[in-house]
């Protein structure tokens, strides 16, 4: 099985950002935030999204500076191999931990609401093959699949929000939580954030043309607005009983059961949660694969999937096995890991962007010129490569279309192979005979040629003798 990784365009990258921003934040987070920091926790969401926006901005700058280079190559070229390996090990641990947290939240949600007696193994069996397949199929397949499901997810979320607005009937008290309490709550519940660093891992596989940077930013804004809107509607609907309603997007729709008389319309929210959970886990696995590749570059990519699955199953089944451990993991352990995307990585990227820039300031004009030429060449090469790739794709499509015919032909020839062999042998024999004949004929002719002078000499002697006799 080969891992395929083709490039993705700006739209697919935008949808990746949309999923990364949404999935883990519209379920449990609003309830946990309100429980400790009341309505002021909305400011925390704004703050976290500002951090994510900062990471996206850094990514844009780095991508513009190194348009075709991989992040691990950049790290190795500028900071050495050790830093690269440390970074990529950190990426591996970070995304594995995030996947574990996301899975646990989703599993607990489904176990509490639908599958009360279902074991973890059964749910794992549903998730793991699909996310592995999505990740192995490659980034482009993942992006395109998400493009198909994106309108469905967006429609469901907008529907849930509109329905949820009708459920708002509470008055909430503003600005009562102490500032330190808000900070503490923010530090405890930062775990669902920090996913934007995934973009650094797919840096070389993203193709963004000039003027297309607005697309990822638009998707970022859209997802942020949805998360904040869901949190706001949820908090205004449930206020002081938020702790009794842990699943925000699901709860804001559920009130319609009683007042709207529409039955279990809250199932709709579950559909969106399932889709988002699958895609988000697949993205985490993909991130783990890229990170694994950065550390163990000589090992086949498929081992990264196997490693992830083993590590994931072990952690989920033996370490984080229930809600209590999941909460401890999400609130006490994982927040420390967020130092990596929000502190360490930005520092290194800033160094790459500014410090190195200053060092080579003297040759800046020359380098810019050289860089632009290099870029042009690279673009040409990329265009050529793209054309070739397209041609290969077309050929492969034609080949795929002809495949059945070829198979038929192949089968037919297989049946007549024996006959053909016999014919070939006969032909070969005949050829040999002909060759032999021709060889004999040649020999004969040669002999003839060799004999001819003898005869002519004999006749000449005869003629000479007769001529002598005539003279005599």
């Amino acid at each position: 099985m080969k891992v395929l990784d083709r490039t993705i365009n700006a739209w697919q990258m935008g949808i990746l950002i949309f999923v990364l921003m949404l999935a883990n934040k519209i379920l449990v987070l609003p309830s946990l935030l309100f429980e400790k920091a009341n309505i002021e926790s909305l400011f925390l969401l704004f703050f976290f999204f500002a951090l994510e926006l900062g990471v996206l901005f850094l990514f844009q700058k780095l991508k513009e500076k190194f348009p075709a280079e991989r992040f691990d190559q950049i790290l190795q070229n500028h900071f050495g191999k050790t830093v690269r390996v440390i970074f990529y090990v950190a990426f591996m641990i970070f995304f594995l931990s995030k996947a574990v947290l996301l899975y646990n939240v989703t599993y607990i949600f489904f176990r509490n609401l639908i599958y009360k007696d279902t074991s973890n193994v059964l749910i794992l069996f549903c998730f793991l093959p699909v996310i592995c397949h999505l990740a192995i199929c490659g980034l482009r397949v993942l992006g395109r699949t998400m493009q198909i499901f994106f309108p469905i997810v967006l429609t469901i979320l907008i529907f849930c929000l509109i329905v949820g607005v009708f459920g708002i009937n509470s008055r909430v008290i503003w600005f009562q939580t102490p500032f330190l309490e808000i900070i503490k709550t923010g530090a405890e519940h930062i775990s669902p954030f920090g996913d934007m660093i995934f973009l650094f891992l797919i840096m070389d596989r993203v193709e963004i043309k000039k003027g297309q940077w607005a697309i990822p930013y638009t998707f970022f804004a859209l997802s942020s607005i949805i998360v904040i809107a869901v949190a706001l509607v949820f908090m205004l609907s449930f206020t002081y009983t938020s702790f009794m309603h842990p699943y925000a997007i699901f709860e804001i729709v559920s009130f319609i059961k009683e007042f709207g008389g529409l039955g279990r319309i809250d199932i709709i929210a579950m559909v969106a949660i399932i889709m988002l959970a699958y895609f988000h886990l697949a993205i985490y696995l993909k991130a783990f694969m890229f990170a694994f590749e950065g550390v163990f570059s000589k090992i086949d990519k498929i081992f990264s999937v196997i490693t992830f699955v083993f590590a994931f199953v072990i952690v989920v089944n033996f370490f984080i096995i229930n809600l209590e451990t999941a909460v401890v993991f999400g609130e006490k352990i994982l927040p420390f890991a967020l130092i990596f995307p929000y502190f360490i990585l930005p520092i290194f990227v800033a160094i790459l962007l500014f410090w190195k820039e200053k060092k080579t300031n003297e040759t800046k004009a020359f380098r810019n010129d050289f860089q632009s030429k290099k870029n042009q060449k690279m673009r040409k090469n990329a265009a050529n490569l793209q054309q070739k790739e397209n041609l290969i794709l077309k050929d492969s499509k034609k080949f795929a279309q002809k495949m059945p015919q070829i198979h038929e032909k192949f089968d037919f020839s297989f049946k007549n192979r024996a006959k053909n062999k016999q014919k070939q042998e006969k032909d070969a024999e005949n050829l040999q005979k002909k060759e032999e004949k021709s060889l004999n004929f040649e020999k004969f002719e040669k002999q003839k040629i060799l004999k001819k002078p003898q005869k002519t000499a004999f006749f000449a002697q005869k003629i000479n003798f007769k001529a002598k006799e005539v003279e005599q």
């Binding site: 509470s170 008290i173 002081y240 309603h245 059961k257 009683e258």
Partner: protein
């Protein structure tokens, strides 16, 4: 075929799909159907255990629900109005009241489950009935279980009753069976009226966990027949489209009526409000959709010493805050849309066309006076018991946090802040 089989084995997702179907197929085949596993509970009644409850009856065929050597004071008796779903062509729900006694609510429910041999499903629970003695003393111990249970929806109605919860459920069941009056719908309908309040777990907890710590709970009274031979004989019945198999005795004596609204503050029962008191408070809260206003002994150019009843069609209530010398002044602007629905005069038949009746300035003034008096009474009631039912705390805090907290700091008894706030009421009347 060969080509497809080759493709099947070459594509791992097909294999995964096949394995999943086999895996889950067998897993589902090995499990019993949920319909055979659960008893659906639609109402729970919670009482303090008494001697009578401990007496064995037909619903308690054995004494499993009787814990040995336990003091009755610490025990709860839980009655479950339950039906066991049966797959049939016609839709029939045969209800039964099942009891269990335990040291905690969850233990009592578990023991009740033993009496029917099924797991108790609380997902369809619509109403929780709590005995008035428990509501007055240990309500929050019970509500703790109800708030933690994931199966119970927060929109479940919760009411107190002046009799035992078991009796209430039996009466409710009979009413449902004989006249299709459902208690949960009854409470939901009442909450729209000016005389009552919404009484669900959600609203109760919102009030209790809010800044004012005031929670409201409706109290219903069940009037059952006294000539019944045994309560358990009446507890079996059928309902639904499949035809009822209920009691043949007279059904006119069963009734469920609202008696009070219980007001709790910080886990304690502060007061019980009757329908009139609730009407006064609701004028301040603006938490109603329907109701009427009666003006007595009214006289103008149309009426002479008449009793006029106006039906409320719409209302808007706005609170405006201002401060004077550091004291908050709350302006309550009320707009009411009314229609004259009844006239009671002593001497002759009404001559005016009621359909085209326009409220005269004199009538407007009389209504204004009446509403203002009611609102003043409502505010005084809240002041008297220190129960901020309208959540003025939040309104004042959100309006000007600094000024309000300065005002609070200036008070000796901060709990009694309502008494120090000045209220100004303005009422505008519109005819429908």
């Amino acid at each position: 075929m060969k080509y497809f089989s080759n493709q099947f084995f070459k594509t791992p997702m097909f294999l995964v799909f096949a394995i999943m179907i086999l895996f889950y197929g067998f897993a589902s085949l090995g499990k019993p159907a949920e319909i055979n596993q659960y008893a659906v509970v639609t109402a729970i009644g919670i009482d303090k255990a008494e001697d009578e409850a401990l007496a064995p009856d037909t619903t308690q065929s054995d004494n499993l629900s009787m814990p040995d050597n336990e003091s009755l004071k610490d025990l709860y008796e839980v009655s479950l109005l339950t039906f066991i779903p049966v797959a049939q062509q016609s839709f029939t729900e045969k209800y039964k009241v099942v009891n269990g006694i335990g040291k905690s609510i969850s233990e009592a429910i578990d023991l009740a489950a033993l009496n029917i041999g099924r797991e108790i499903g609380l997902s369809h629970l619509k109403i929780i009935v709590i005995n008035h003695e428990l509501a007055e003393s240990g309500l929050f111990k019970i509500l703790d279980y109800l708030s933690r249970n994931i199966q119970i929806s927060s929109s479940t109605k919760v009411v107190a009753t002046d009799k035992t919860a078991k009796e209430f459920l039996e009466t409710a069941q009979k009413l449902d069976n004989e006249s299709s009056i459902k208690v949960a719908e009854h409470i939901m309908f009442n909450s729209d009226y000016i005389y009552s309040t919404e009484s669900s777990l959600e609203t109760f907890f919102k009030g209790t966990f809010g800044p004012t710590k005031v929670g409201l709970m409706a109290c219903l009274s069940a009037k059952g027949k006294e000539e019944q031979t045994s309560p358990t004989a009446a507890s079996d019945s059928g309902q639904g489209g499949g035809g009822a198999s209920g009691e043949s005795q007279g059904s006119t004596e069963e009734a469920i009526t609202q008696c009070h609204v219980y007001v709790f503050k910080k886990e304690d029962l502060v007061t019980k409000l009757g329908e009139r008191d609730m009407k006064r408070v609701n004028f301040v809260l603006g938490d109603f959709g329907n109701g009427s206003i009666v003006i007595e002994n009214f006289s103008d150019e149309h009426f002479d010493d008449a009793n006029l009843t106006f039906e409320i069609f719409g209302k808007t209530i706005n609170y405006k805050i201002s401060y004077q010398n550091g004291i908050p002044i709350v302006h309550i602007d009320t707009s009411l849309t009314l229609r004259l629905s009844e006239v009671e005069q002593n001497h002759d038949i009404l001559q005016e066309n009621v359909e085209l009746f326009v409220i005269t300035p004199a009538a407007e003034k009389a209504i204004e006076k009446k509403v203002k008096t009611s609102m003043a009474d409502g505010i005084n009631l809240m002041r008297e018991h220190q129960i901020d039912m309208a959540d003025f705390y939040t309104i004042l805090h959100n309006d000007n946090k600094k000024a309000f907290h300065n005002f609070l700091d200036s008070l000796e008894d901060q709990e009694n802040y309502l008494s120090h706030i000045v209220f100004k009421v303005s009422v505008r009347i519109y005819a429908k």
